[in-house]
């Protein structure tokens, strides 16, 4: 199922890009969330898919008999999920604060740091 999954990841990436190009900050952050999911899936897939058993050694054994799912990408993705969550949570709070302070969530109306037309020699 790698090929369909690759296509799905591509689709999600495209969708996320589209969202991130939005002038609406909330849509942008939705895009980040979607892209995060796409990238996590990609790492997971890049470690090769398997329908074999999960990487849990039976409690009475020293090692798993036969093939098992690749545990390393799982650990990486787990870390990435958490980090992505931390970043997203902060970004959402920031979006709220942007609304409180600037009165808008549209990024093309946020012109405080680089005011339009003020670039003069």
């Amino acid at each position: 199922m790698e090929v369909p999954l690759a296509l799905l990841i591509g689709l999600l990436t495209g969708v996320a890009t589209w969202l991130m190009l939005s002038r609406n900050l909330i849509r942008l952050l939705l895009g980040f969330a979607v892209l995060g999911n796409a990238v996590n899936l990609l790492i997971f897939t890049a470690g090769r898919l398997t329908r074999d058993v999960p990487p849990l050694v039976p409690l009475d054994a020293e090692a798993i008999e036969g093939a098992f799912a690749n545990p390393l990408p799982q650990a990486l993705v787990l870390t990435a999920i958490v980090i992505g969550f931390g970043l997203l949570a902060f970004a959402l709070v920031l979006a709220w604060q942007a609304y409180v302070r600037l009165g808008t969530i549209r990024t093309d109306e946020m012109r405080e740091a680089e005011p339009p037309g003020e670039v003069k020699p």
Partner: protein, 146 residues
Amino acid sequence: MNSLILRAATRVLAPMMLMLSLFLLWRGHNLPGGGFIGGLVATSAIALQGIAFGPEVARRTLVLPPAVLAGVGLVVAVIATLPAGLVELPFFTGLWLKLDLGDGAILPLSTPLLFDIGVFLVVIGGVCAILLALEEDPETDQAGEP
């Protein structure tokens, strides 16, 4: 949300979820679970409390301010990296102390477990800090400049 049902359910659910989170933490080394998942379950319990009874109640459950709780967790996690130095092993090396409780039952105490407890606390403290800040009344806490 002042739903009676929610409050009643929370009264039962929250303690159970907290117990569950400890269980997940404990078994994580051998079965699905671990400090992070456990922490998230505990966080959900506290978030639920916050929604049902208000953030103040949730803060009381946490005892410490959430950010400080996360700091405590970080201290615990950092401490777990150090004992290896006492026995001249590299940074973060896992050390195991298997306590024989009699009857063949063995209680394995280890720095990885200590570390996982740190993870557990940081997750609870950190995520609760954000959630509770968001649950609080937005009108009263605009401390920043206009």
